[in-house]
Amino acid sequence: MTPATSAREAILARIRAALPADRAPEPESITRTYKRAGNLPREACLDLLLDRLTDYESEILHVADESGLPAAIAQALQNAGETRLLADAAFPAAWLPAGVDVVIDRNLSIEAMNGIPAVVTTCEAAAASTGTILLVHHGAQGRRAITLLPDHHICLLHRSQVHELVPEALAAIAEHRGEPITTISGPSATSDIEMTRIRGVHGPRNLTVILYGAI
């Protein structure tokens, strides 16, 4: 036996020795009487999300539909005084604003990404009750590093992607459970110094959410 195998067998043997031998192999049922489905009307659900995002000091922009996205992205960049923008190769070209230096992520090095001030991505779902945006990092959501290194994350959120509760939002991404997943609730923050919440440590210090599409 190699040492690794023996550690494995030893730990499993300790567990089996400690627990009764006649344990039921079937999973026991868990009492899930907590809220798993929301009851807010769609408008109120969206308002709840806006309230939470504002609480996290995120910037929120509203557009009616896809045609408004280039202008909104340009607005977000302008508000932050930025002129360069990172996006995944799968990000729809028609949504990108004109007159902005767009860098497309085709296997960019970490160093190259580090110098770009802003990134634009889509997302998979959002939970209104906690103001959380969920990414599963496929398509225009980009790989994990692109939403991490730039200091400003501009995230497009279709209004139909907004769920009221955390369980609903997680259920919405459950089919991607084997993929890398990042949930984002406001900009990077810390409370490690005297419990004062400080926005922006290592992740993006600014988060802009652009809401588009029909509820």
């Binding site: 906690t130 991490l148 259920a171 923050a189 110094i193 419990m195 290592h202 992740g203």
Partner: protein
């Protein structure tokens, strides 16, 4: 086998360490402030959840179920993580875990690692082990940096540098980062940490993390954090090593919906922490190319046999019990002599150590129950504390010195006295005579021996000249016959 929990083995007993901590006014002020802030925020965020109790109950049941089938879920996790391109290692104790990590780091050829906050690595003292092999571990969580750069020890599970105020942090950063003009403004301090670490995040090719949850169904690992340093550590390096205590398993992805609601509200009083990262093995074109998990026992399996002790392993390390504890709030974390402090530390540390160390910790509590009330997974900490006190007493009685100790003799004497009415009444008479030596103005003062610990700080009323039973007997003998009922 060498189970080690931080530097616990060398730590002084809680009463001695607490006495030192209580003299430190600055420390007490810092701890009061920080715990007050988190407690208030937590209360606010818990209050707005009308299904909080239901979530707690579900979390408790999920954890209890997982632990009751831990062998099954560990193997399921191993199978799925391996299928997704990860490598799973098993470590019986601290030394084995460190040896695996060192072997991997040497195999990939590095002498630097970036680390995201993991209490488990503090438990096995991984940084010390790495340093001995010439490997520098950079802590990247702001609080962990404060602790590491200040050659300090963590004093809280969630906010390890909570005992430091902004001026102390400024002094540490200013000295270690060579920034003489650094101000004590928290924004400036965070910005200093950002630029200090930025180049290390980009340069260092090996990452080490812990795990808040390991999901058996998918083989995924979940890290809960706020600053983005966790995302950096689990995304940017080519090689990632994740140290996971075997109790961190949960059965399914679905179960996250319970814990991701309970943990942030309990830990920092936020509705949700800024970032949660989940990954499963290796993802082509995204993140590390090599992923290793070390599943750590280090005493945990010793807690499985007893249903009550097993509950200790339900803990999701939110720190709510620390913030709520009237003892922790006065002494801070260092007095516990273990990286696991507060009420959860008082039950976890001694049990991981088979009660060989930290034997005073089960007594570091007033048993007020505040910890149980705030625990998001409903660990009955007061009950476990009492149970462990029982184990300590039972252990002590096996030794001659323990048997002849003042406490044991007093308790045995008390058991004898309370065992019969005759002895009890005799003891009362004896007490009334004996107390004359110490009685002043109806109070007892300066009692000898252990009882002196009480009278040094508190009043103790003298025994009355007549007991209730004596008064009752006398009343029966002298009272007139009851009046007949008026009709």
């Amino acid at each position: 086998m060498s189970i080690r929990v931080g530097k616990t083995a060398k730590a002084p007993d809680f009463p001695a360490a607490a006495k030192v901590a209580l003299q430190d006014q600055q420390l007490r002020k810092n701890v009061h402030h920080a715990t007050d802030v988190i407690r208030n925020k937590r209360a606010l965020r818990v209050q707005e959840m009308d299904d909080w109790q239901e979530l707690r109950q579900a979390a408790h049941e999920i954890k209890e179920h997982t632990l009751a089938h831990l062998d099954h879920y560990l193997q399921e996790f191993e199978r799925n993580c391996t299928a997704a391109g990860g490598t799973v290692h098993w470590a019986r104790d601290a030394d084995e875990a460190n040896a695996i990590a060192i072997g991997l780091i040497q195999q990939y050829g590095g002498d630097e690692v970036i680390k995201v906050k993991t209490m488990t690595s503090d438990e096995v003292q991984m940084n010390v082990a790495l340093e001995a092999k010439g490997i520098m571990a950079h802590e990247t969580d702001l609080a962990d940096m404060i602790v590491q750069l200040g050659h300090d020890e963590p004093s809280h599970i969630v906010v390890p540098a909570l005992h430091r105020n902004r001026f102390e942090i400024r002094d540490i950063f200013s000295k270690k980062m060579g920034l003489p003009d650094l101000t004590a403004d928290p924004e400036d301090l965070a910005a200093a940490a950002r630029s200090y670490l930025r180049d290390r995040f980009l340069r260092v090719n090996l990452g080490i993390s812990g795990a808040n949850f390991a999901i058996a169904e998918t083989g995924s690992v979940c890290v809960v954090e706020s600053e983005g340093n966790g995302r950096m550590c689990v995304t940017l390096p080519d090689v990632l090593i994740t140290l996971v205590g075997i109790e961190k398993l949960i059965p399914a992805f679905e179960d996250l919906e319970v814990f991701l609601q309970l943990l942030p509200r309990s830990a920092t009083g936020e509705r949700m922490n800024p970032y949660n990262s989940l990954w499963t093995g290796v993802h082509a074109g995204d993140g590390p190319k090599e992923f290793h998990v070390i599943l750590l026992d280090n005493g945990r399996t010793q807690l499985l046999a007893s249903k009550m002790e097993r509950e200790t392993l339900d803990c999701i390390r939110c720190g709510a019990c620390l913030n709520a504890c009237p003892v922790y709030r006065e002494t801070g974390g260092h007095a516990y002599g273990s990286i696991y402090s507060g009420p959860i530390g008082a039950i976890l540390s001694p049990q991981l150590n088979s009660l060989e160390h930290s034997r005073s910790l089960p007594y570091a509590s007033s048993l007020c129950g505040a910890c149980y009330e705030v625990c998001p997974v409903k660990i009955n900490i007061p009950e476990i504390l009492i149970h462990l006190r029982g184990r300590v007493v039972h252990d002590d009685q096996q030794t001659l010195s323990g048997n002849l100790s003042q406490m044991n003799l007093a308790m045995k004497g008390a058991a004898l006295v309370f065992g019969s009415r005759r002895r009890y009444e005799a003891a009362q008479r004896l007490g009334r005579m004996g107390q004359l030596l110490f009685k002043r103005n109806g109070q007892l003062e300066h009692l000898p021996g252990m009882a002196g610990g009480w009278t040094r700080y508190r009043d103790l009323r003298a025994l009355p000249q007549q007991t209730f039973r004596e008064w009752w007997k006398q009343r029966q003998a002298t009272a007139p016959a009851p009046e007949s009922e008026a009709r």
